[in-house]
Symmetry: C2
Subunit: 191 residues, 2 copies
Amino acid sequence: MREFIYFSANGRTSGNFSDLMQAGRLDIAIHVIIASFFLSNKLRDDVRLHLILNGSPDPPKHLEFISNEEMPISKKDVSGLIKRMLYKYRKGQKVEVFPGCHVEKKSFGDLINELKTEGKKIYLLDKKGKDIRDTQLKDNAVFILGDHEGLPKKEMKVAEKISEKISVGPTTYFASQVVVLIQNELDRKGI
Amino acid sequence: MREFIYFSANGRTSGNFSDLMQAGRLDIAIHVIIASFFLSNKLRDDVRLHLILNGSPDPPKHLEFISNEEMPISKKDVSGLIKRMLYKYRKGQKVEVFPGCHVEKKSFGDLINELKTEGKKIYLLDKKGKDIRDTQLKDNAVFILGDHEGLPKKEMKVAEKISEKISVGPTTYFASQVVVLIQNELDRKGI
């Protein structure tokens, strides 16, 4: 599985929103989902995406999406999917809202430490990191992306401890553009 | 200037539309515009993008966007910009609707032949083309992208005559994802 984590510092943590930009820039999260799962004529079948939403009213929320044939994902209504997942959240549980789509309360730090414990190799996207093209990627790679403001100090500190910095190029791209560039590199490396 | 041509076989050629997908998949054109001009925290200042819309009611239309500081482009309302450009079209003229934003009647074939005559090097995106990473790109490069169905036969014939086929990777990406990959390659090559 190709694995991505997108951290949204202000992403709204309940389903009662209408404007995506005003919901803590969930529009960016939507574009990350599209870049993670969609190709021109099909859905990718090998992706696991974690969104950590850390905005009001009830942070943190961990939304997990795993490729599968029954995943009800349509480019037209990704925001509806997020809404429904947030509405179905239940305290103390990891709820499978749709096949492959889970919601639970979990912090960014807890998530990445868990993945590390599972033996994953954690990469943190950073303009000053090692060039992804020169990196020996394996299929246990997990890529952490921050939002338009980058990771906040607290999350950066946790991430820096257990990850290696990696770069997709000499400029700062949108999170969704970064996902496209990583996917392409994995496509090329046949991972 | 980095130069892109996006051909939309069914893109609507008048401003009276509301649903972008139903307007001949102008949603794809919007994403191409965003991938062409937007970086995380700024607009690119070196891009020239041509959209050829070939749908009803009055094809073909050539919409041209050239980076400049006064370009009224906002990610929130790219569709409004296209609408206004189509409404301002005047027969027999190339109208500058906003700084750097022009509309006129011009076919795909006429456009690429003109660019060729100007000394541009024309590349046609194709999965079977030469790898862009192994290609000596110069700053006179123009990249042709088809829509989700690829170039129609007529346009393909004209394009094949004067272009070289180039590839960004082993799978078929969205047009906007292809733009992201080309931009990254040009960023890396310092062009």
